[in-house]
């Protein structure tokens, strides 16, 4: 009797594979990636925590929370946090404003592909190369000073590394030049993806372009804007190549970012315990930020 029942595909599958194997299969697929990432995230976290309780370069000496105590009392550390937020905040705001303006101007343009290729060129250089380019333009080659003198905006060479706000401005300009296209490309794609007919309908109802953009297109883009700003924000807050190459924290540590602070205390002064304590603090901050941002904004792509 049983022989007469033809095995359905589902039955065949069930027979071929034990329930345990079927349950374990998706975990097995994802496991190698997770193990690899744990090795490169969990291990460093634990190592930094352990190392932050010790001092010394070769002979380690247990010092308890002393590294943390000196870190929180270290003005240079707080200053680097402040610099990171100020430079990062200004950079992100400027990049957002420019990218959104350009995207709004260009997304229905028949030559949008051409504009996009031109605008994204800076993004294709290595950040270290871009840092040298702007170091040359602002500082060593005095090109920006020369141009400002020619148009009458300056009388003599400007020492961009001499004033904290000018030096921070150099870092902002360098990042804006290279990374505005990142936001621009995302915004153009999001605008192009929106339904043309909604815009048409609004226009037929007599809405002006500005009204359409600010009351329809922009609100529809909110999730995209959030994701783009989070991704760009992370990169800006971990800015390292340009401070390392252009300013090295000058003048008086006013352009020292947190990343550069850790690098300097760790790999220049070789105070690994101290730098590890700073690493732990930054890790905790990033874990908190990641938890709140990632889950909030990346829902949209879900099934």
């Amino acid at each position: 009797m049983t022989d007469a029942v033809l095995p359905t595909p589902a039955l065949r599958m069930a027979r071929r594979r034990s329930p345990f194997r079927r349950k374990a299969f998706p975990y097995l697929l994802v496991a190698p990636a997770v193990v690899y990432l744990l090795a490169i995230t969990l291990y460093p976290g634990i190592f930094a925590l352990w190392r932050s309780f010790y001092q010394g370069r070769f002979k380690l000496e247990f010092v308890g929370f002393q590294n943390y105590a000196s870190l929180f009392g270290d003005e240079a550390f707080w200053h680097s946090l402040y610099n990171t937020l100020v430079i990062g905040g200004v950079t992100l705001a400027v990049e957002f404003a420019i990218a959104m303006t350009l995207a709004a101007l260009v997304y229905r343009d028949p030559f949008v592909r051409g504009w996009r290729i031109i605008f994204l060129l800076p993004m294709l250089f290595m950040p270290s190369a871009v840092a040298y380019l702007w170091k040359l333009l602002f500082n060593d080659g005095r090109v920006i000073s020369d141009l400002l003198i020619r148009v009458g905006l300056a009388d003599s060479n400007i020492d961009f590394m001499g004033s904290s706000w000018l030096a921070r401005g150099v870092l902002v300009v360098t990042d804006v030049w290279q990374w505005t296209p990142f936001l621009f490309i995302i915004f153009v794609a999001a605008l192009q993806g929106q339904d043309k007919e909604i815009e048409e309908a609004a226009r037929l109802d007599g809405a002006r372009w500005g009204q359409i953009f600010f009351s329809i297109s922009l609100p529809l883009m909110r999730p995209v804007i959030a994701i783009a700003l989070v991704l760009r924000g992370i990169d800006i807050l971990t800015m390292f190549a340009s401070p390392h190459i252009i300013t090295q924290g000058a003048p008086a540590g006013d352009t020292e970012t947190v990343s550069y602070f850790i690098y300097r205390t760790g790999f220049k002064s070789f105070e690994f315990g101290y730098a590890s304590a700073a690493s732990v603090v930054v890790l905790i901050l990033t874990v908190v930020l990641a938890q709140s941002f990632v889950r909030r904004f990346f829902r949209s792509g879900r099934e």
Partner: protein, 275 residues
Amino acid sequence: MPEGSRFSIARTVLLTVWGLFCLLPVIFFASIALRPRNEIIAPRPIYFPTISIETWAKIWDEWPIMHYFMNSVIAVSGSVAICLVLGIPAAYSLARYQYKGREDIGFYILSTKMMAPAAVAIPIFFLFRAMGLLDTVWALMLVYAAMNLSIVVWIIRSYMIDIPHEIEDAARTDGASDLRILWSIIIPMCLPGIITAAVIAAIFAMNEYLFTLIIASKNAYPLSVALANFSGGSDGIIYNAIALVAFLAFFPALLLVILIQNHLSRGLTMGAVKG
């Protein structure tokens, strides 16, 4: 877009100004690569230099640029290969199966993108020192792969979600195993996503600076850090060598990006923005 010629003129002016702001430094940089050293740092900047590729021979003699280039190629392509081998199965698992903890695993992978490189630099340095891998391309390869794995998984996952279930169901009815379905149906169908992920991972790896700086100390220099060492005694920073190396990395990146230009926004947002 509003109508009216005044607006359209203002619009063209704005776009042109930004276009020039993007292009002029690039052109200036290219001219730096092509000019003799005494015309780089002059009392007043020289905008129309003597163009010569003579200095190239000198640069080529002074630094093993091909060696640096090959270091980049090996470290970058190796890291992309690791990302794909680990990332494709992971993406498939996250895109296609229902199981406990799937969301948490997916978000854990994504959250590694948020890690500040500087915060893990010291442990990574000691890890590779203990493994005897400092100043090797292998260490660079492993770090670049770790750095990009989250991006690769999420981009590919987003493309896999878009494939209709019916195709797999049909194959499954015909008795194909899950791995077989992944290999002969899913992977070919989301090839654009895989290529996009690979290109973006390659460019990010090529750009990496902080980890590279602490791992490589001469032998393993890839282009991104090699150029930071083009300075010699009285010559100061040798900008034409830097510019040359910058363009050596720029052109491959340009070709790759043109290849995936319609997928670029989706890739840069890790699959969140389609189109």
